[in-house]
Amino acid sequence: MTLATQPHDRARTTHPCPATRSERLRRATRWWPAPVLLALFAVPYSALPLPGLLDGPIGGPGNLQLLALCLLSGGLATGYDLLLGRTGLLSFGHALYFAAGTYVTDILMLEAGLSFTASALLGLLAGVALSALLGAVSLRVGGIGFSMVTLAFAQAASLLVQRDPGGVTGGEEGRAAPAGRLPASLVGIEHTADLYWIALAYLVVTLAVVGWAVRSPTGRVWAGIKENERRVEVLGLRPYGFKLVAFVLAGTLAALGGIVYLLLTGGATPRTTTSDFTLSLLVMVVLGGSGTRWGPMIGGILYTWADQRLGDLAGSGAVAALPPVIRVPLSQPLFLLGALFVAVIYLLPGGVARLPARLRSRSPATR
């Protein structure tokens, strides 16, 4: 892999002038995430309207809630990509670990009467334990068998939650978090900004952890497993352990996201346990660009925003006036998202994140 790219690198350094210019440009733009982060941090103080993108001022509670959900999805997709894009594992059971964080925390507060902090810690722990246990079993099968087994586990858990054993999970209704046990600064519409910042912090933490993990020695082995697992074995490493580490880390990040979701929506819903939820994570990652640093985050934000806005669009008067052939498919956001997903796979391999590179490589050819 490295040997193959070396001549290419050398060829680039033989032209010193453009190299140094691009080097200088890169150094200057290296810190671009910092102003973006600052801008995102300041969003609750802003009354800027974004017509078409959002209804009303950007800092309003409704929009902050939507933006917080977008950021949370961005973080979740980034964590999921640790499996899909970094290690090459196609898991269809990621919703399970997310839901473990939400449900365990919620149930412990409701049933055991623990404080939020203790419940959240135990919820996180449950996510770690569950992903370690189920990951250890499902990683025994390789390739697509792994996908099916993770899906089966998640489905079993989803059915269990919906059957409502002992009245603990609340069945189809889900369960609302006890407002009395949550910190006062996280409850109520006037504190939406705090929840927004928590979602932002979750995104930053996930990006940092994933960024750090893929650059660590373990992360290099993950990349090797993704490229060619057999070769990693030939080098004398056992891929099983490395894959399990990736699985548990991704599961932990998902459980943390589940706790943030509990705060954000004020309850646990069985919708987050279903395979559709995992599939939506998959759509986010592929939409944004699997295996890239920012791609999954962009995909998660775009998907959540589009999902919300398409739902609004489907219920709007402009759609109701259309002829049935157009109106009927438009009334189903899931249809639009599924079709969009297939379109992205065909027209945009590599997702949104690869779009600038594709445009750049195309423009000299057309000239």
């Binding site: 499902s138 586990f153 559709d276 498919p329």
Partner: protein, 295 residues
């Protein structure tokens, strides 16, 4: 005794339904390495095709007797056409990108049920079926609904037909050889891609027939039916060993029976969980499934 007989028939009927989906999934996976997430959607298409024809919109078809047979044939035909369309329009352009093939089927699997519920509503549509099949028959003191043996007979027929096709015809030989080693078959100068479309057509027909008969079994059709059955079909495919038809048949019987008995004798819903726990146990003992095929 009566309960056991009834549970056995119900379990076998459910197993037959699983087999109708899993046989196509298993063949498609064995030959093309594509896990078809849109297979549940094909079942739903077959179910809705049957319902559409049986509710009197197709001349000659109807809810009773020969009319229902025609409706089921129509539903199966629609499902087959949908499967061929899926292979030609979605899977074929992505032959060089196996991961994307799976993702594309995921997208189709999301979009098709959503489209169905956009057109005909998300609520279940009742499918009565012919009077001759809606009754029960007495066996060892149990009143067994007639649609169970019909489902079992259909699954056995499909299994026998597939076995005969794979074992006795030239096309079947190509499919079997392709499952064994696709590269070698290509090297021998045989165009495996024709077999891809064929396998998709067969799998789609079986799934759509499952949809038509599943409509009888459940008494209604709804857009999410296919997807929820698909997950247990996955369990069947993994348990049976991927690419193996006999394994899929054995595993679907086992899964259907375990699910029914556990659901009845323990809490409702535990049967579905028990199936998955069994799968986990099997994978710990035999990571390659019942028949020991390479995963």
């Amino acid at each position: 005794m009566a309960t056991v007989v009834l549970l056995t028939f119900t379990g076998l009927g459910l197993g037959a339904l699983y087999f109708l989906i899993a046989s196509g999934l298993s063949l498609i996976f064995g030959l093309m390495d594509v896990l078809n997430f849109a297979h549940g959607a094909l079942l739903s298409v077959g179910a809705y095709g049957t319902w559409w024809a049986a509710s009197g919109r197709l001349p000659g078809a109807g809810p009773g007797g020969a009319g229902f047979v025609l409706a089921a044939v129509f539903g199966t035909a629609v499902g087959t056409v949908a499967a061929v369309l899926l292979e030609v329009a979605v899977i074929r352009p992505l032959y060089t990108r196996p991961r994307e093939q799976i993702l594309a089927t995921v997208g189709v699997g999301l979009a098709v049920p959503a489209l169905l519920s956009a057109i005909w509503g998300a609520d279940p549509r009742p499918l009565a079926g012919p009077k001759a099949l809606s009754g029960t028959f007495g066996l060892l003191g149990a009143e067994v609904p007639l649609n169970r043996p019909v489902l079992i007979a259909a699954a056995v027929l499909v299994l026998a037909a597939l076995k005969a096709f794979l074992g006795r015809t030239r096309h079947g030989l190509v499919v079997r050889a392709g499952v064994e080693d696709r590269a070698m078959v290509t090297a021998l100068g045989i165009d495996v891609r024709k077999a891809f479309t064929l396998v998709f057509a067969i799998g789609g027909a079986a799934a759509a027939l499952g949809g038509a008969l599943g409509g009888l079994y459940f008494g209604s059709v709804d857009p999410g039916q296919g997807t929820s059955l698909l997950i247990f079909a996955f369990v069947v495919v993994v348990t049976g060993g991927m690419g193996s038809l006999t394994g899929a048949a054995l595993a679907s019987v086992a899964v259907g029976l375990v699910q029914q008995f556990a659901n009845y004798y323990t809490t409702a819903g535990l049967g579905d969980v028990a199936v998955v726990v069994l799968l986990a146990a099997l994978l710990l003992i035999r990571p390659r499934g019942l028949t020991g095929r390479l995963a």
